[in-house]
């Protein structure tokens, strides 16, 4: 089928061009499990090493990447219907962004949205207090649900508001897009 093939090859070029124009450092789309997460993380670290001097910015970037990936991975275990998620690290000048997208159950949206809103109204002292409170509670409950702490940690490392969006995909599921940005610090200061 030459026409389909032609179309596909065009798509390859368009995707390549779009990724280059958007200064994508790494992008992965597909299923996530702990071994894939580790591979993506390892690749992300190598690529960040090339873009950033070893120092605070790189450490923060890596920390955000870890939490983002582990958030995806912990959600996708529970979504057999829509197993594919996306993870992207990109750059725009001195600004870096780490994005993720994954499908979550519609009944989880409200709770997640509330957590994100709560995080976004806080300044760095407020986030510290929230972190301290959340970690103490997690010790009491001994539960494995880590999403709250992970998001607080991302917000603290990012130093900026978290961007997010929920797009309903059907009555039971929503696509959760998430993005953390951070500015490359001047490491010479």
């Amino acid at each position: 089928m030459p026409i389909d093939k032609f179309k596909d090859l065009n798509t390859v070029y368009e995707l390549h061009k779009s990724m280059e124009d958007n200064q994508i450092i790494i992008a992965y789309e597909g299923e996530f499990n702990s071994s894939i997460t580790q591979s993506v993380l390892s690749l992300a670290e190598k690529n960040l090493d090339q873009k950033l001097e070893k120092g605070q910015t790189k450490r923060r970037a890596f920390n955000i990447a870890v939490e983002c990936l582990q958030n995806i991975s912990s959600h996708s275990d529970r979504n057999a219907e829509y197993p594919n998620s996306i993870f992207i690290i990109g750059q725009e000048g001195n600004e870096f962004y780490i994005s993720s997208g994954n499908t979550i159950k519609a009944n989880k949206v409200e709770n997640l949205q509330r957590k994100l809103e709560q995080i976004n109204i806080l300044d760095s002292d407020g986030l510290k207090q929230l972190h301290m409170q959340a970690i103490k509670e997690s010790l009491k409950r001994q539960d494995s649900n880590n999403a709250g702490l992970g998001l607080i940690s991302i917000a603290r490392k990012s130093g900026k508001k978290l961007d997010y969006q929920f797009i309903p995909v059907d009555t039971d599921n929503s696509f959760f897009s998430f993005q953390a940005t951070f500015i490359k610090l001047d490491e010479n200061q």
Partner: protein, 121 residues
């Protein structure tokens, strides 16, 4: 008691548990999603150690990275030592890594243990 050592990997820390020296050390990075499986034998060792601890116990945290799942584990681990005598937490960080220093200070606020801070030489 058996001495326990583990080599660090991409996502798990190097571990040294030495009951004769009263020394517990974690180094490198701790990023596992499933912290329970990795840390279970370490917690068993600690429980056994705390049944007959040395006069002085030193806990060295020499991590460059840890995920939030690990921060819960660390808090849980440090809390276990609160009732032992003469426990010092040696918290290491890279000189410019103020986040890691701040993490140490936060753990210090959360547990009743003596902390000292060191930079990686």
């Amino acid at each position: 008691m058996e001495k326990m050592t583990l080599k660090g990997t991409f996502e798990t820390p190097g571990v040294l548990l030495d009951s004769d020296a009263g020394k517990i050390e974690l180094s490198g990075r701790s990023l596992p999603e499933d912290t329970t499986t990795f840390y279970r034998p370490i917690f068993s060792w600690i429980e056994q150690y705390l049944s007959a601890p040395k006069e002085n116990t030193s806990i060295a945290i020499k991590l460059e990275y840890f995920n939030t799942a690990t921060s819960k584990v660390l808090l849980n681990m440090l809390t276990k030592f609160e009732n032992a005598n003469n426990v010092t937490v040696h918290w290491f960080h890279y000189e410019e890594d103020e986040d890691m220093l701040e993490s140490g200070k936060e753990f210090e606020e959360l547990v009743k243990l003596q902390f000292t801070y060191h930079t990686f030489g």
